[in-house]
C-alpha cells in the first residue's frame, strides 16, 4: 500500500542519479532491458522453473541493487538463479495473478498494509518463522503474511529561505500565523494522521493511543480540515521534491529518501530536515500464494536478506534503512544521519502501526479525502 508508491519512487530517484552521472549508462540500459522482460500472465515460458527465484520490486536502480546485493549473493550461496522483475507487485496485480492461477512471482517487495490485505483475501503465503528469523527484525515488524525488509521515514522538512523561523514540531506546522506558507502532505492518510495527533500534543510513543478510537481519528481529521486551505498534497515522491524545488511550499511532510536528495539540491543552508516526530515505516517481503519456486525456497531467500551486512549495503546504495537491528552498529558514520532506523532516530519517532492501518485505514482514508475536498 504505502510501499507501492514508495518503491516506484526509488526507481525515479535512480533515474535522477543516472542523469547526474552517478550510475553509468550501461547499468541503466541493462535495467531498462530487464523491464522489457516482464513475464506475461499465461505464457508458459514465463513460469519460473524450480531452479529459479523471481523477485519483484518497483523497477529502476533498486532492481539492480536488489539483484546485486540480495540476488547474486543468494545464488553464490545456494546455486539458485535469481531474477529481478521491476514491474511493480501491486496488491491488485498479485491478486489477479493468483486468481487466474498463473503465478510467476516468488518474493515481492510489498508493504505490511498490503500483506495484511492480501492475507485476508487469501492470496499470500504465511511467513514461515522457523526459516525466517524473527529476532533479526526490529521488534513489531513481523506479520503473519509479511516481514519487514527495510525502513523509511516520513519527516518534517522546511524551505528555510521562505521562513523567518524554522518549525521544529508538528504543532509549529499547524501554526500558520507564525509560520506562513503552503504545506505539503501526502495525498493519502498514511503517515499523516500521526502528525496531526502529535500537533495536538501526543508524544511520538502515544500517537496510536491517541488515534485508537473514533474520537481521536475524528480529531486528527478535523485538524486537517482546519489546515486544508494551506495544504497542497503530494502523490508521488518526485512531486514532493518538485514542490520544494519550485518554492511552491515552505513546509512539508515527505519521505526521508526524498529529503536526502533535496538537501543536495536546495541552496546551501536553505533546507532543513528533522527526524524529530517523524513516522518510521517498514516495507515488507510478501510471498504470493502458489508461487512457482515453492514457499520453502522463498522463505530461505527472505532469511538470506536478513544478513545485516547486506542491509547496510542496501542503505549505502539506495538510502533505505536496515530492518535488522544488528545492522545499526555497522552503519558508517557519514550515513548515520540518514539512517531512519538508527537507535537515535528511533527514539524521536513514532513507529507506523500496521495493525491500526489494517483496522482503520480505509475509513480514515475516506475521512481524510473528505476533510481536504470539502
Amino acid at each position: 500500500m504505502e510501499d507501492q508508491a514508495f518503491r516506484t519512487d526509488l526507481a525515479e530517484i535512480a533515474a535522477q542519479r543516472f542523469r547526474r552521472g552517478e550510475i553509468d549508462r550501461r547499468s541503466l540500459l541493462k535495467l531498462l532491458g530487464a523491464l522489457g522482460l516482464v513475464p506475461l500472465i499465461g505464457s508458459d515460458k514465463a513460469f519460473a522453473d524450480a531452479k529459479e527465484l523471481v523477485l519483484v520490486n518497483w523497477g529502476g536502480e533498486p532492481s539492480k541493487v536488489l539483484q546485486k546485493v540480495m540476488g547474486d549473493t543468494f545464488t553464490a550461496e545456494t546455486g539458485v538463479k535469481v531474477t529481478v522483475d521491476g514491474s511493480g507487485p501491486s496488491a491488485g496485480k498479485i491478486r489477479a495473478m493468483v486468481e487466474s492461477g498463473a503465478v510467476v512471482w516468488d518474493v515481492c517487495d510489498s508493504g505490511p498494509g498490503s500483506a495484511i490485505i492480501m492475507g485476508n483475501q487469501g492470496v499470500a503465503t504465511p511467513i514461515d518463522y522457523s526459516i525466517v528469523d524473527k529476532s533479526k527484525v526490529i521488534d513489531g515488524f513481523t506479520w503473519e503474511y509479511g516481514v519487514a525488509n527495510y525502513m523509511y521515514s516520513y519527516v518534517l522538512c522546511c524551505n528555510t529561505q521562505m521562513l523567518k523561523e524554522t518549525p521544529k514540531t508538528w504543532a509549529d506546522v499547524w501554526n500558520v500565523k507564525d509560520f506562513p506558507g503552503k504545506r505539503t502532505f501526502r495525498k493519502s492518510v498514511r503517515g499523516m494522521l500521526e502528525t496531526a495527533a502529535m500537533a495536538m500534543g501526543a508524544k511520538p510513543q502515544e500517537v496510536y493511543d491517541f488515534l485508537k478510537d473514533e474520537k481521536g481519528i475524528k480529531a486528527a481529521i478535523a485538524k486537517f480540515h482546519e489546515l486544508r486551505e494551506h495544504i497542497i498534497v503530494w502523490s508521488s515522491g518526485s512531486a514532493s521534491q518538485d514542490l520544494f524545488l519550485q518554492n511552491e511550499v515552505a513546509i512539508g511532510c515527505i519521505w526521508s529518501t526524498r529529503a536526502q536528495l533535496l538537501r543536495d539540491q536546495m541552496p546551501a543552508g536553505g533546507f532543513s530536515v528533522t527526524f524529530n516526530e517523524g513516522v518510521l515505516s517498514p516495507g515488507a517481503w510478501v510471498v504470493p500464494k502458489n508461487n512457482p519456486a515453492g514457499a520453502e525456497l522463498a522463505m530461505k531467500f527472505i532469511a538470506h536478506t536478513q544478513d545485516p551486512k547486506l542491509q547496510v549495503e542496501w542503505l549505502k546504495l539506495i538510502g533505505s534503512g536496515p530492518a535488522n537491528p544488528a545492522a545499526a552498529a555497522m552503519v558508517p558514520d557519514e550515513l548515520k544521519a540518514w539512517d531512519p532506523s538508527s537507535p537515535e532516530h528511533m527514539a524521536t519517532q513514532t513507529v507506523y502501526n500496521d495493525d491500526w492501518y489494517a483496522k482503520n485505514q480505509v475509513k480514515a482514508e475516506e475521512l481524510y479525502i473528505d476533510a481536504l475536498i470539502n
Binding site: 496488491a91 491488485g92 498534497v233 502523490s235 475516506e366 475536498i373
Partner: protein, 282 residues
C-alpha cells in the same frame, strides 16, 4: 432484386463482424463482469451502492467531477467556436496551418501538457514572473493547485474535441444564407445571430457532448494541477481498485459514473436529435 439486397445486407454484417466481436469480447463482456463484481463483492447485495450513497467524500467528488466537466465544456465551446469560425473565414491558404495548430497538442501526451502548465502557472512560473516583472502584482497569484488551474489546463487539453465537430458543422453551412440575410438588410450581428448561429447548433451540441463526456473520465490533469483538492471520481476509482483491493466499491463507482454519463446523454437526447448531431452533422 430482393435476393441481391438481402445478400448486400449480409455482406455489410460480415464487414463489421470483426469489430463487433472485438467489442463483445474486450468491452461488453468485461463491462458485464464489472457490473457483477459491484453486486457480489465483498458480499452479495447492494452494500457497495449504499456505501457510495452514504459517503460525503464520494458525493463531493461526483459534484466536483460534473462541475469541472461542465465548466470545461463551457470554456471549450466559447474558445472552440471562435477558433472554428475564424478558421472557416480566413483565407484558404492559412486553413491548413491553423488546423495543424489545433491538432498539434493531440500529438503530445496529456501528462506532458499538464506539466507544461505547471511550469507556466507556478508561484515562480512564467506567468507570475511576468506579472511581477511588469509591476502588476507584488506577490504571486495562486494560479495552480486549485480548481482554476485545473480548468485552464482542462480547456487546453479538450479544445480540439470542441473545434473539430464545430468545424465539420461549419463546413457544411452554405455562406449564401448569410450573404442573403445581409443583402436583405440584416446587420452583421443579426445575420450571425439569426441565420448563422442556429445552423451551427448541431455542431455546438456534438462538441459539448464530446467534451463533457470525455472530461467526466479525466483525472491526470486534475490530479497534477488541483493540489489534491480537485478529486475526480475516476481517481477515486483507481485508488479503490489498485490500493485497497476494494473492487466491489471501485466497480460500483464505475457503474455509477457510467450510469450518470448515460443519463447525461439521454437527457441531451431529449433536446437534440442525437443521430443527426453525431452521425449526420453538417
Amino acid at each position: 432484386m430482393a435476393a441481391r439486397a438481402f445478400a448486400d445486407r449480409h455482406r455489410y454484417w460480415l464487414l463489421i463482424l470483426p469489430a463487433l466481436a472485438a467489442m463483445l469480447i474486450f468491452y461488453v463482456w468485461p463491462l458485464i463482469q464489472i457490473f457483477a463484481i459491484s453486486f457480489t463483492e465483498p458480499t452479495t447485495g447492494f452494500g457497495n451502492y449504499v456505501e457510495l450513497l452514504s459517503s460525503r467524500a464520494i458525493r463531493t467528488s461526483f459534484v466536483i467531477t460534473f462541475r469541472v466537466a461542465a465548466l470545461t465544456t463551457v470554456g471549450c465551446l466559447l474558445l472552440g467556436y471562435v477558433v472554428a469560425y475564424a478558421i472557416y473565414n480566413t483565407r484558404a491558404r492559412y486553413v491548413g496551418l491553423m488546423l495543424m495548430l489545433v491538432l498539434l497538442p493531440f500529438w503530445l501526451s496529456v501528462l506532458v501538457r499538464s506539466f507544461a502548465w505547471i511550469v507556466l502557472l507556478g508561484r515562480g512560473g512564467v506567468v507570475n514572473d511576468a506579472l511581477i516583472g511588469l509591476g502588476l502584482i507584488d506577490r504571486p497569484l495562486a494560479l495552480m493547485h486549485n480548481e482554476f488551474g485545473v480548468l485552464i489546463a482542462m480547456v487546453h487539453v479538450m479544445l480540439p474535441y470542441a473545434v473539430l465537430p464545430l468545424m465539420a458543422n461549419m463546413k457544411g453551412i452554405d455562406p449564401s444564407y448569410v450573404a442573403a440575410a445581409r443583402g436583405l438588410g440584416a446587420s452583421e450581428l443579426t445575420a450571425f445571430r439569426q441565420v448563422y448561429l442556429p445552423q451551427t447548433l448541431p455542431g455546438i451540441f456534438s462538441a459539448a457532448l464530446l467534451v463533457f463526456v470525455i472530461s467526466l473520465g479525466f483525472y491526470i490533469t486534475p490530479a497534477l494541477l488541483g493540489g489534491g483538492r480537485v478529486l475526480m471520481i475516476s481517481e477515486y476509482i483507481t485508488y479503490q481498485i489498485q490500493e485497497f483491493l476494494k473492487w466491489g466499491l471501485g466497480t460500483a463507482l464505475s457503474v455509477a459514473l457510467l450510469v450518470a454519463t448515460a443519463a447525461v446523454i439521454l437527457a441531451a437526447a431529449r433536446f437534440v436529435n442525437l443521430r443527426k448531431t453525431l452521425l449526420e452533422r453538417g
